[in-house]
């Protein structure tokens, strides 16, 4: 009965014959997730270093950042950035459209990336800090005993080794990011979920469209988890000891991702 009520044709079309509107929506979901994740990692690094700073104000600022962005709902942050930021700062912080030459997006997508990135940065700060803490303290001592200032010791000795601890949770964060990016529909970005919602509102066929969009999210997260497993497997293999340096192993591990990216384009 229930299955008979499904319009199988719509579901079939959505999955096997996606139209160009849908493809654009899929592309938006991908670039919003990737750019927000990159922003999150950069912010996470900056705030992780502020957290370790000798200056109390920087440490407090870093704590406040995590307190706010982990302590309030993501959807509130997205609305605040999109609707509130321009009013609050008195100038157009979020432009109507953002143009990077070949690539342009509208202001809502830009605001969404900023908000998702800001939120992600709070979680990345904790992940990066834990990764740095996991590196044996003897490494920093050895670097310092050789006369390296803290900055160089961090960049050349500690961070490369922290990467190993940061990469697995970073992969999980990106998985969440792809799903959370659906929230930017509420500020008017037609990404995957937005596309489904618009189709539903014109056809009143929620089951077909939301089932189809769930399927596509599942494709995204599944493809990512295969890539992630590949990366982690390669990092683990090298831990058992081969002739590659850790730097080379990280590069190797990411190589299939870039190959995949080239293939997709």
């Amino acid at each position: 009965m229930l299955l008979a009520a499904l319009d199988w044709h719509i579901l079939w079309q959505r999955i096997f014959h996606p139209d160009h509107v849908f493809v654009l929506a899929l592309w938006r979901t991908i670039y919003i997730s990737v750019l927000a994740q990159v922003l999150g990692v950069v912010l996470g690094l900056i705030f992780a270093f502020m957290r370790m700073s000798r200056f109390l104000p920087l440490r407090l600022l870093s704590g406040l950042y995590v307190l706010i962005f982990r302590g309030t709902p993501l959807i509130v942050q997205i609305f605040f950035v999109y609707f509130g930021a321009n009013l609050l700062f008195g100038f157009n912080l979020i432009p109507r459209t953002v143009d990077f030459g070949l690539f342009h997006m509208d202001g809502a997508a830009f605001a969404g990336i900023i908000a998702l990135g800001l939120n992600e940065g709070a979680y990345m700060r904790e992940i990066i800090r834990a990764g740095i803490d996991a590196v044996d303290t003897g490494q920093m001592e050895a670097a310092k005993s050789l006369g390296m200032p803290h900055r160089i010791a961090m960049r050349r000795v500690v961070l490369p080794q922290a990467t190993r601890f940061i990469i697995p949770p970073l992969g999980n964060e990106f998985n969440s990011m792809m799903k959370n990016s659906s929230l930017v529909f509420f500020i008017g970005v037609t990404e995957l979920f937005g596309d489904a919602e618009i189709r539903y509102s014109t056809t009143f066929k929620p089951v077909e469209y939301f089932l189809a969009v769930a399927f596509w999210y599942l494709v995204l997260t599944s493809v990512w988890s295969v890539i992630q497993a590949q990366i982690e497997r390669k990092l683990a293999v090298s831990e058992r000891g081969d002739e590659l340096s850790f730097r080379e192993r990280v590069f190797e591990a990411w190589a299939p991702v870039s190959a995949w990216g080239r293939g997709a384009r």
Binding site: E141, S145, I152
Partner: protein, 257 residues
């Protein structure tokens, strides 16, 4: 080195971890080319004192000078304040340190470990640093391991690379913090041989915290006995091992020899 030939000068050094007093007034002078071995039971503060010399630990009071420069602190209008990080880093260039657990950088090859600080800190050009690094590897008997990562080296080999890494900065003073304590018995000899070569052939000034009494007897100019945060006895090894003055030293030696 100062005019009177002192490389290291420590005066009334005190250090506590919380309520636990670890160093209770250490004074020690080490002259250029001198080899000093510090012995004592674990918990006597010998490693902590060594770590104070290159300011890996902050001291509570007293003063430590290397080459006549106050370490970790500077005098400002009669008061002593902690020095800036860059100044401390610069001072540490003159003080090599070898750790019990080697602490080689696992993501770099043996040669990369050695040239990292000379290139990044001393700003020596890479070809020159590589040449010197290869010479150092040859000196510690590991010329064929230049492109091998620490994970593939035995403990003894890792420690020899660590010694070469410290020497690459051409320090005025070398500190060894129980360099053989984490090693399998069969490879201790190869590390001690490298250290003896440093002492006898290069005349390196060194302070060695060790439990290797054979090494102390053979290579040290002076042996220092620490107990409960104080230096209780010091002297040339012949006197020290054959005629110890203090009861505490006799007890310790009878247990360890």
């Amino acid at each position: 080195m100062t005019e009177d030939g002192n490389v290291m000068f420590a005066e009334d050094v005190h250090k506590s971890f919380g309520r636990l007093a670890v160093l209770k007034g250490i004074s020690l002078t080490v002259k250029n080319g001198e080899r000093v071995c510090i012995i004592g039971a674990s918990g006597s503060g010998k490693s902590t004192f060594l770590r104070c010399i290159n300011h890996l630990e902050k001291i509570d009071s007293g003063r430590i000078e290397v080459n006549g420069h106050l370490i970790g602190y500077r005098e400002e209008k009669g008061r002593i304040v902690e020095d800036t990080e860059n100044n401390i880093a610069r001072q540490r260039c003159e003080i090599g340190m070898v750790f019990q657990r080697f602490n080689l950088f696992p993501h770099m090859t043996a040669l990369e470990n050695i040239i990292e600080a000379p290139v990044r800190v001393r700003k020596i050009s890479k070809p020159v640093a590589v040449k010197e690094g290869e010479a150092l590897l040859a000196r510690v008997g590991l010329a064929d391991k230049r492109n091998v990562y620490p994970g593939k080296l035995s403990g003894g080999q890792q420690q020899r690379v660590a010694i070469a890494r410290a020497l690459a900065m051409k320090p005025a003073l070398m500190l060894f913090d129980e360099p053989t304590s984490a090693l399998d018995p069969e490879v201790i000899g190869e590390v001690l041989d490298v250290m003896k070569a440093l002492a006898f052939e290069m005349g390196t000034t060194m302070i060695v915290v060790t439990h290797e009494m054979g090494f102390a007897r053979e290579a040290a100019d002076r042996v220092v006995m620490m107990d409960d945060g104080r230096i209780i006895e010091e002297g040339p090894p012949a006197h020290f091992f054959d005629n110890p003055r203090e009861d505490r030293t006799k007890q310790f030696l009878s247990k360890i020899l």
